[in-house]
């Protein structure tokens, strides 16, 4: 495996590099088009709605309050923004905000630039990781090519950067580099490597909190092993320095998140893959779209890399090459995370299936040595004609799988079938002509490229924004909820259903089995409790839409139906007044306390850092189905007519 191979000339290496990277760049630019980046609309991908909403909110908080977290009263009846749910969006935010401030580019444009830059960097970073793991140029270029293939055609990876999980995809390849750098630093310590490792690790953790999960076992395992074997040579101080730098660079979000850790709620829904998914993924059989990212698995590159990496590691182990431990730990641990932790209560929230991506990228780098060792003329020349023929037949049978992956990456490569003439093209009976144009299909559904939010959704946003009455908007489709939050001034009950926050209890459509969805009485209470004024339905839901006692149909835009809620409640559970809710701030005018208790209860989620002024204080009021509770206000001693609730941090 480590035997010296005849090295290619520099020109050849460069040529191969540019051909592979050229293809990568072409496909990435095809998928993420500059015209879409420049447009004022966000990408259509559902997670991109959430992340843009988070980015806009945090940018506002940073500019207005100088903090990277705050209280957003207009989502889910008030929820902490920037605390727990968006610890996976820090690097994306810093990048977007940085570009926005430094260049004056619009925040949304900078936001949309991130997936492009990340995708363009991915194979380069992995090439660097290969070099750090001492792969020669031939092997590194092989790893580079495999990474490009996987980045573009593996369904999990492709889903991540297509739908908006770009931060995790970025953290995945940065983790590979961080592990490679760490290994290199342990075996050949130097200040330069220390700095590079610390920086990469810090960036990876900023990109996504689960970079920690990816790396914790491989890095500690490698460190401990190195310590045991080469005690004298282990640069302990350097290792701890790396850890401290990485931690320090992430404290700005970690500290507040830990402070509010009690707000975390279990809510693992998607990506819950058990061990059997390892087999079905290999066989490319779809079991449950929710768990394997809404696509039939395309895993040729992944399992090719995993099998080849296994053979590389086996070889390395025989040769007592220390890289095998890092490789085995990194791949094995990520696969364990992906296919076993769904069985462990409390860890389901990590969306385990996501960890196939770092496992695959680790494997892609480590597959190269074995692949290069068998892709030699010598080996081929040593085969009998019969075995050569067998190999060729097997390769021939793999070709359609490769083609399938290429078509998956760029469906536009398939010439679209002309309309199939069956009856439509047949001569009709004279005198009974009723020509009917048979539209083959909706061509807009035929691409994997990131498209802008459809105009129909923006039309809905404009309509919602113009609705005159106060009260919240219940939104069924979660991505639409996020979109309406960041494109309108309305208060939304909806959005991402599994935010890992207790506040998602205000989300009616969070779980299909929610009793409030399935009982008219509970539904009626819900609507009053959260002061819901309108309902936006996209997928037909008989239990809801037949409740004409509770709703009246108002308007239809595209597939979305808007209902007005019939109740006449307001934002006050006890007492009365007028409310104006802004990020980090709720203004109450003409407040009238409840005559019995002399208190006032607002239909906004409680947060312990909220402060009331002047001459008032807040307390928590419990409500059904919701552990967070609402904000109660009482005067000290009497409730003022006008007061402000503001985040006191």
């Amino acid at each position: 495996m480590t035997a010296p191979k005849p090295s290619n000339s520099k020109a050849t290496r460069l040529a191969i590099f540019f051909v592979i990277y050229g293809l990568h760049v072409a496909v990435v630019f095809h998928a993420i088009r500059p015209s879409v980046i420049e447009s004022p609309l966000n990408y259509e991908g559902v997670d991109y709605q959430t992340h843009l909403e988070q980015t806009k909110t945090i940018a506002y908080l940073l500019e207005r309050y100088g903090h990277l977290w705050g209280y957003d009263p207009n989502l889910l009846a008030g929820q902490p923004a920037g605390l727990i749910f968006d610890v996976d969006n820090k690097l994306h935010f810093l990048f977007s905000y940085g570009i926005h401030r430094l260049t004056g580019a619009r925040l949304i444009v900078a936001f949309k630039l991130f997936p492009l830059i990340s995708s363009l960097l991915a194979p380069l970073i992995l090439l660097l990781a290969a070099r750090m793991l001492r792969l020669d140029w031939r092997q590194s270029l092989c790893a580079f090519g495999l990474c490009v293939f996987i980045w573009l055609s593996d369904h999990a990876t492709r889903f991540m950067w297509g739908v908006g999980m770009i931060s995790f995809a970025t953290a995945s390849y940065l983790s590979v580099l961080a592990a490679a750098l760490f290994f290199r630093y342990l075996t050949e310590p130097s200040i330069r490597r220390l700095a590079a490792t610390a920086l990469t690790l810090a960036i990876a953790l900023n990109a996504h909190v689960w970079a920690f999960a990816i790396l914790v076992v491989p890095l500690i395992g490698t460190y401990v092993w190195h310590w045991r074997k080469c005690e004298d040579k282990t640069p302990h101080i350097g290792v701890w320095a790396i850890a401290l730098v990485a931690l320090g660079a992430n404290l700005y979000w970690l500290a507040p998140a830990l402070r509010f850790f009690k707000l975390v709620a279990p809510s693992g829904i998607v990506g819950q893959t058990g061990p059997w998914y390892l087999l079905t993924d290999y066989l490319e059989v779809l079991i449950n779209a929710f768990n394997t990212f809404f696509s039939s698995p395309h895993t040729l590159g992944r399992f090719g890399a995993l099998f080849a990496a296994f053979l590389t590691l086996r070889s390395m182990r025989r040769e007592d090459d220390p890289r095998w431990r890092l490789g085995a730990l990194a791949i094995g641990w990520s696969l364990f995370l992906a296919f076993f932790i769904a069985l462990i209560p409390g860890l389901r929230e990590m969306e385990p299936y996501r960890f196939v991506v770092p496992a695959t990228l680790f494997a892609a780098v480590l597959a190269a040595p074995w692949l290069c060792s068998v892709a030699t003329r010598e080996l081929y020349a040593g085969l009998s004609p019969a075995v050569r023929a067998l190999l060729i037949f097997l390769l021939l049978l793999v070709v359609p799988r490769v083609a399938g992956h290429i078509f998956y990456a760029v469906p536009e490569l398939i010439p679209y079938p002309s309309s199939t003439a069956t009856l439509h093209a047949l001569p009709r009976v004279p005198g009974l002509q009723s020509p009917q144009q048979v539209m083959a299909t909706d061509l807009s559904q035929t691409t994997h490229s990131l498209r802008p939010v459809p105009e129909i959704a923006m039309k809905l946003a404009r309509y919602i924004d113009r609705l005159p009455e106060e009260g919240r908007i219940v939104v069924q489709h979660w991505a639409l909820g996020e979109l309406l939050r960041h494109t309108t001034n309305k208060s939304i009950l909806g959005g991402f259903p599994d935010r890992r926050l207790k506040h998602e209890a205000a989300h009616l459509f969070r779980r299909p089995q929610d009793p409030r969805l399935n009982s008219a009485t509970e539904l009626a209470h819900y609507l009053v409790r959260y002061n819901a004024r309108y309902l936006v339905m996209t997928d037909f839901h008989a239990v809801i839409e037949f409740q004409r006692r509770l709703f009246e149909f108002k308007h239809k835009i595209g597939p979305h139906r808007i209902y007005r809620v019939r109740h006449r409640g307001n934002y006050f559970m006890r007492g009365n007044g007028n409310v104006r809710a802004l990020i980090n701030r709720i203004e109450v005018r003409d407040a009238v306390a409840h005559k019995d208790t002399q208190q006032l209860v607002l239909r906004f989620h409680y947060l312990r850092t909220m402060r009331c002024r002047p001459r008032c204080r807040i307390f928590r009021v419990g409500i059904p189905f919701d552990d967070v509770g609402f904000i109660g206000v009482e005067g000290t001693p009497t409730l003022p007519r006008t007061f402000i609730l503001e985040n006191g941090y």
Binding site: L283, F393, P411, L432
Partner: protein, 666 residues
């Protein structure tokens, strides 16, 4: 040494027998899965796709055989009257005769019909073995051939589709076509043995009766080897081969003369299985470009394997003669099977992918020739693979080479498993919760984003609701009018198993009588304004039975009123708002309509006199005769190319019957 040789030989024979037994057991198990005995012996005919149509053919053939000892008839129940068994089922005569024969020994016709399908499945390994024997394959190669045929049979998407959708006679013809080539090959090779030429005569005459299109598949290879060997053959052998041909022509007399008489009704139309040359690439990459052309899903792994391995084998055989000193010596050194399989592979591929260019081949649905191509090319492929898979070939491999081979197998394995799972979804672990997504994204589906929508590709009985619907219609229809049936299979089922007059069934009927089929006139049944009313009146429609949702038709509240739903609303019955009348001109009523016969009554006019003639809303046919003392004339119609029946002179009571007189153009 000799003892060792004998031991080896014994072991090899044991292994071969064990292997063969295992393959046959697997094949039979799969056959019983795909054609379950619970369906075969249920006394209900297989319902899937064309089986429904073929069951109609068989039913009519049985009835007309009982009444007139003919295989064709005038069927007033379907499409306002048409010649059943004259044109449409020329590829199903053998099955009809099979059912008639078994019926004669008291086997239930539906069981006989279903048994035929099962029998064709069970014949596969047997015929594969026979083909291996005829082409002188070694034991190992024969075993590989049986495996290849079995795998192609179940897991090549088109071969599977052919037998699943009801093209069962073509499925058998494709196997027998290769057997016929084997018999011809051996007849030419072994001139003294009579059994091959006798076998050839029997098989080719059966094929001529069973499915005439197979002649196109095997013509080129048969001619090629005949011409090659023509000079070497004696007069007797030539005569014997001509005799085979003559017997085959004779066998076509069962259906050909009738078909020729009715040929003028045929339309120059074709709908299915006529891909263009670019489909070759789509097939190679498992891409479904058009389900109409290559079947609903494309899975060609086994086909590509036999084509590639077969081609390499042919190249090897051909190369064996390349170093010979002269052309004669080259021909001698070359394997004598080379020309036959080259001609078979080339001609069938050419037909399959370019047959759509010419009308004459296009109407035969040229893609069907893929089946004999695959089964045929499996023979040289088995020769090559049998060689390659010798344990001695693999034993001497270096470790990296072995690993590489294992790696390649691991990369291919998912493709095979997915092939299997596609056709056996009941064992698939998939929850299929994404059907909606799959159907929405056609191009992404094409790219493999989602698997093609699929359903259990194993034979089923008619659904229960079809019987409930039939009962309801039987109670309500009588002689009050006809029933338009949208669903193809449901239409054929009702036509075959009841006396309900049906306007429906196969939409792609390429003859003029199809003008009575609403969904042939327009695929969505959309006849604007008065056109719908005119259609309903023209064919005396009482009910419309819808399964697919064609909103533009179902929302024609001016013409249709909802009556009843079946199968939880998936099938809906509407009653027309017209008053259907079988009499186009004159007044009267149809007393009964049965196969080959319509009994009617004419009412006197206001003046108490019968009209000079009456016109009926039944299709005219030249062989129809009228009693008592009346004649049948054709009434042309602008919207119906067949025209209707005029009874001259009108009689108070009349009977129209099929006179089976084909002396004039019917």
């Amino acid at each position: 040494m000799g003892g060792e040789q004998a031991t080896l030989e014994r072991r090899s024979r044991r292994l071969f027998r064990g292997g063969l037994l295992a393959v046959v057991a697997l094949h039979v198990t799969l056959a019983l899965y795909f054609v379950p005995p619970s369906v075969v012996f249920s006394k209900k005919p297989i319902y899937d796709i064309d089986y429904a149509l073929h069951w109609y053919h068989v039913e009519r053939a049985l009835e007309s055989w009982r009444g007139a000892h003919k295989l064709w008839s005038y069927d007033p129940h379907v499409l306002a009257g048409h010649a059943a068994g004259a044109l449409e089922d020329v590829s199903f005569k053998a099955v009809e005769l099979w059912v008639i024969a078994l019926r004669a020994v008291n086997v239930h016709p539906a069981v006989a019909f279903n048994l035929f399908a099962l029998l064709v499945h069970l014949l596969v390994p047997l015929l594969a073995y026979l083909v291996g024997h005829l082409f002188r394959l070694e034991r190992r190669q024969r075993l590989v051939l049986v495996v290849l045929w079995s795998m192609l049979w179940y897991f090549d998407s088109f071969v599977h589709w052919v037998w699943f959708c009801g093209m069962i006679s073509w499925a058998l013809a494709s196997q027998l076509g290769i057997v016929a080539l084997g018999l011809l090959y051996r007849s030419l090779e072994e001139k003294t043995k009579k059994r091959y030429i006798i076998g050839l005569a029997l098989v080719t005459s059966f094929l001529a009766l069973h499915h005439p299109f197979i002649a196109l598949s095997i013509a080129a290879p048969a001619l090629a080897i005949y011409i090659r060997d023509a000079r070497r053959l004696g007069l007797r052998r030539h005569a014997a081969l001509v005799g085979c041909l003559a017997l085959s022509v004779l066998a076509t007399m069962v259906w050909l003369p009738t078909a020729m008489k009715f040929a003028h009704y045929m339309l120059k139309e074709d709908s299915f299985l006529r891909p263009t040359i670019d489909y070759f690439l789509y097939d190679l990459f498992d891409l479904t470009r058009s389900p109409d052309q290559t079947g609903p899903t494309t899975r060609t792994m086994w086909r590509v394997l036999v084509l590639a391995a077969g081609s390499v084998c042919l190249w090897r055989w051909w190369r064996a003669g390349r170093t010979a000193a002269s052309a004669a010596a080259a021909a001698e050194a070359r394997d004598r099977r080379t020309l036959l399989f080259f001609a078979l592979g080339a001609s069938t591929l050419l037909l399959a992918y370019t047959g759509s260019v010419l009308y004459v081949t296009r109407v035969t649905q040229p893609y069907r020739h893929i089946v004999p191509m695959a089964l045929g090319m499996a023979v040289p492929a088995a020769v090559l693979l049998g060689d390659l898979l010798r344990p001695t070939q693999l034993r001497g491999l270096s470790r990296p080479a072995k690993l590489l081979l294992v790696f390649a197998v691991l990369m291919v394995l998912p493709r095979f498993v997915r092939n299997v799972l596609l056709f056996m979804p009941s064992i698939e672990i998939s929850k299929r919760d994404t059907d909606q997504m799959r159907s929405r994204h056609s191009r992404l589906r094409l790219a493999g984003y989602f698997d093609s929508p699929t359903y259990e590709m194993r034979q089923r009985k008619p659904p229960k609701y079809a019987y409930r619907l039939r009962r309801w219609l039987n109670r309500h229809v009588g002689q009050s009018g006809r029933v338009v049936v949208e669903d193809y299979m449901l239409g054929e089922f009702l036509a075959a198993t009841s006396k309900i007059p049906v306007l429906g069934g196969l939409k792609q009927r390429s003859f003029h009588h199809g003008d009575a089929h609403l969904f042939r006139v327009d695929p969505g049944g959309v006849l604007p304004g008065k056109q719908l009313e005119s259609y309903l009146e023209r064919y005396a429609v009482r009910y419309v039975v819808m399964t697919k949702l064609y909103k533009q038709l179902e929302w024609r509240k001016d013409m249709l009123k909802f009556r009843k739903a079946f199968d939880r609303g998936r099938t809906r019955v509407y009653e027309t708002r017209i008053k259907p009348d079988y009499f186009k001109r004159g007044k009267g009523r149809i007393i009964s309509q049965t196969l080959n016969r319509i009994d009617g009554e004419v009412f006197a006019g206001d003046d108490g006199k019968l009209p000079a003639s009456v016109e009926l809303r039944f299709h005219w046919m030249g062989t129809l005769r009228c009693l008592p003392a009346c004649r049948i004339e054709r009434v042309p119609d602008n919207d119906d190319r067949v025209g209707f029946i005029r009874v001259v002179p009108a009689r108070p009571r009349f009977t129209i019957y099929n006179g089976y007189d084909l002396s004039k153009r019917p």
